[in-house]
Amino acid sequence: MQTWTNAFSWINIRFLLLGLKVTLFISLIVMVLSFIIGSLLGILRFAKIKYVSATVGFIVDIVRNLPLLLIIFFTYFGLPNFGFRPDVIPAAIIAMTVFESGMIAEIVRSGIQSVAPGQMEGACSTGMNFAQTMWHVVLPQAYKHIIPTLVSQLVSLIKDTSLATIIVVPEMTQQAQIVYGQNANFTLPMFVALALLYFVVCFTLSIVGNLVGKQLS
């Protein structure tokens, strides 16, 4: 019991919460960046532009089918060979943005495809060009469809940030490792705390996502 109260002293918990801050910070930046990049890639893939769409599709498929951990390793240990040496947090952000963009591109594309083709034709027949049709007619409806999927993607992104511990990013899992690295008795309490914190964040988000999804449909 003594171990548990010691393990959950404010110093340790605060240390974990600092990690949570980094976790959420990375997740948020990656989400915003990959939302933009992913949307562009998804639209490009949908647009059926000769060669471009096929190439984009192929790259997206490659990225989606690689383990994120491999991409993180490649970014942090591989890129320095090209003369580009990112710091740990930027490296994690770059690697995860690459991966998430691929994921979101596919989600956006499926969202666009779920919009009835008549919408697109109707908008075109009013004289809008492709970009206008996309921006004013198709995308608003597509995003409405995919909000729940995007939220669950955000949840898995938050969980995936734990992988960045391999390149010693000071996010929550890493912070927990530092704590129980100093005192092995704290291993179990730290894992319980870690699981609890991740669970609270992710579960809340999932519920919010479900509620929003129900509201919209």
Binding site: D61, N65, F73
Partner: protein, 212 residues
């Protein structure tokens, strides 16, 4: 890149073997556990339903890494010795089965209620109706999502690298630290991963189109 293939061929094959073994074990067991969890939720008992929900939500909302590290570090501390491969495979199975349970549940729910009622009215028991009428339709609906989950599972098996599970990514790290040729080591292993996941993922795309 060719050098890595020729010099470390056997090491890569070993890695591929462990990755495949882990994926296969996880595939089989998480399909079974996932289906059982999905079916248990159909029982009238509130308690069973609650327990299933807790299992599913807990494992869906905690990072795989935390689950695997937990098994790898905690079990030897209090119970018995466990190697990285076992801990990683068990962790991956627990994690994936929660996702599969959720997919199959949504499949069962998307089968019309009339199907079950119709089957019951022909004199089938509840479980017969499930087994012969509802589940076959449910599986057909969820095949694409299940396939995606299996692709994820192969990718997630790279978590073994964290706990010295000898899988492909672990071998990539070993080769990279031996040759200092990080780019090519990771590229080679990346290609091997793609060889595993890409055909599966394209086949699922094809099935999805065919079934819809």
């Amino acid at each position: 890149m060719i050098n890595i293939f020729t010099h470390f061929g056997s090491q890569l094959v070993v890695g591929l073997g462990w990755t495949l073994l882990c994926s296969l074990i996880t595939l089989v067991f998480s399909s079974i556990i996932g289906t059982v969890l999905a079916l248990l939720q159909m029982l009238p008992s509130k308690l069973v339903h609650l327990l299933c929900r807790i299992y599913i939500e807990v494992f869906r909302n905690i990072p795989l890494l935390v689950i695997v590290m937990f098994l790898y570090l905690i079990i030897p501390l209090y119970f018995f010795k466990i190697n990285g491969f076992t801990a990683g495979t068990i962790g991956l199975t627990l994690y994936t089965s929660a996702f599969i349970a959720e997919i199959i549940r949504s499949g069962i729910q998307s089968v019309e209620a009339g199907q079950l009622e119709g089957a019951r009215s022909t004199g089938m028991t509840y479980w017969q109706a499930m087994r012969y009428v509802v589940l076959p339709q449910a599986f057909k609906i969820v095949i694409p999502s299940l396939g995606n989950q299996f692709v994820n599972l192969i990718k997630d098996s790279s978590i073994l690298a964290f706990v010295a599970g000898f899988d492909l990514l672990y071998q990539a790290n070993a080769i990279a630290s031996k040759t200092f040729d990080t780019i090519n080591s990771y590229l080679v292993v990346g290609i091997l991963y793609l060889l595993l996941t890409m055909p599966l993922s394209y086949y699922m795309h094809y099935l999805e189109k065919k079934l819809s």
